[in-house]
């Protein structure tokens, strides 16, 4: 087996683990997830990290019973702005996370964007594009990112990535 084939096999193995994580990660009902995400953002607003309290995310019913949760223009006190959307689909076991996008536009820093994506389907070349990945700035590399509960992703973005990334060293 060539070195590239070995690497591809490793990448396909990782994609299989992603799929297993998605299959086993039964989400709560979308309405409850929406309320949890909204309450979390409200708490951040109470602590002065966000400029105001948001009534979103909003929910939309899509084809095939897929539910979309969208939250746009969440403004941090630092002027950074977060948009996110995620799709959940029903299964016999409950609700499954299908895909999401978290886009953070960072204000007044060396790094201007962070984007975290979970794609609905795996890519043709998993070595280049892992199903769940993070982009720093407008860079091409798709850096693998773990599949975790969207509440944890939101927490990570709001409390660790936004405050720290792209800051000048002290």
């Amino acid at each position: 087996m060539s070195l590239e084939d070995e690497l591809k096999e490793l990448a396909w193995h990782r994609e299989g683990q992603y799929q297993a994580a998605l299959d086993s990660a039964i989400q709560e009902h979308p309405s409850n997830l929406l309320r949890q995400l909204r309450a979390y953002l409200a708490e951040l607003a109470d602590h002065g990290k966000l400029k105001k309290t948001y009534e979103g995310p909003r929910s939309f019913a899509k084809e095939n019973d897929v539910v979309e949760l969208i939250c746009e223009g969440v403004e941090f006190s630092s002027d950074s702005v977060l948009d996110f959307n995620l799709h959940l689909s029903p299964s016999q076991m409950g609700w499954r996370l299908r895909d999401f996008e978290f886009h953070l536009a960072i204000a007044k820093r060396r790094v201007q964007h962070v984007r975290i994506h979970l794609t609905a389907k795996g890519a043709y070349d998993p070595l280049r594009v892992p199903r769940c990945h993070i982009h720093v700035d407008n860079s091409e590399p798709h850096i693998p990112f773990p599949i975790i509960n969207p509440r944890l992703t939101l927490h990570l973005v709001c409390e660790h990535i936004e405050p720290a990334i792209g800051r000048e060293p002290e």
């Binding site: 309405s31 309320r35 309450a39 409200a42 309290t53 929910s59 019913a61």
Partner: protein, 147 residues
């Protein structure tokens, strides 16, 4: 018809969260066809924002309760439907409002516009102790999702 401020369960529980441990009484007005959705919203927000299970009963349950203040103080937040006014309910809310107040809890009363207007006229003691009267609507962010 008096036009009261509008709220949702999300906004209401934001307030209740700030005032936890302090007595408060809200009269919530909502068309009866929306009660089921609003009740689900109230229960879900109590769970998500305060981490409590919201007891939601018809007001008549209090008529059978020997210790009114005790019943309400067992819960940090309790909700009651006022579907119609009877002498017993008026007496409970007006004459015995001090016992409700002593509970120190946060009490929500859900009613229709018509019943609320009668209630406000016939229960001056209750009215004077209300924290606020609000029109509550189904949560627009939830849309057609139901758990």
């Amino acid at each position: 018809m008096i036009d009261f401020d509008e709220t949702t369960a999300f906004r209401l529980f934001r307030r209740l969260g700030v005032g936890q441990g302090t007595f408060a009484m809200y009269l919530l007005i909502c068309p009866s066809e929306d009660w089921s959705i609003v009740e689900d919203d109230l229960k879900a927000e109590a769970d998500v924002q305060l981490g409590v299970k919201l007891p939601l009963n018809d007001i008549e349950v209090l008529l059978r309760e020997p210790s009114l203040a005790g019943y309400c103080s067992d819960q940090s937040v309790s909700a009651f439907r006022i579907k119609e006014l009877s002498h017993a309910v008026i007496s409970l809310l007006d004459t015995h409002v001090v016992r409700l107040e002593r509970s120190g809890g946060q009490l929500l009363f859900l009613s229709t516009q018509n019943t609320a207007e009668q209630l406000l006229v016939q229960t001056p003691n209750f009215r004077s102790r209300l924290t606020e009267v609000l029109r509550i609507t189904p949560d627009p962010s939830i849309g057609e999702l139901t758990a």
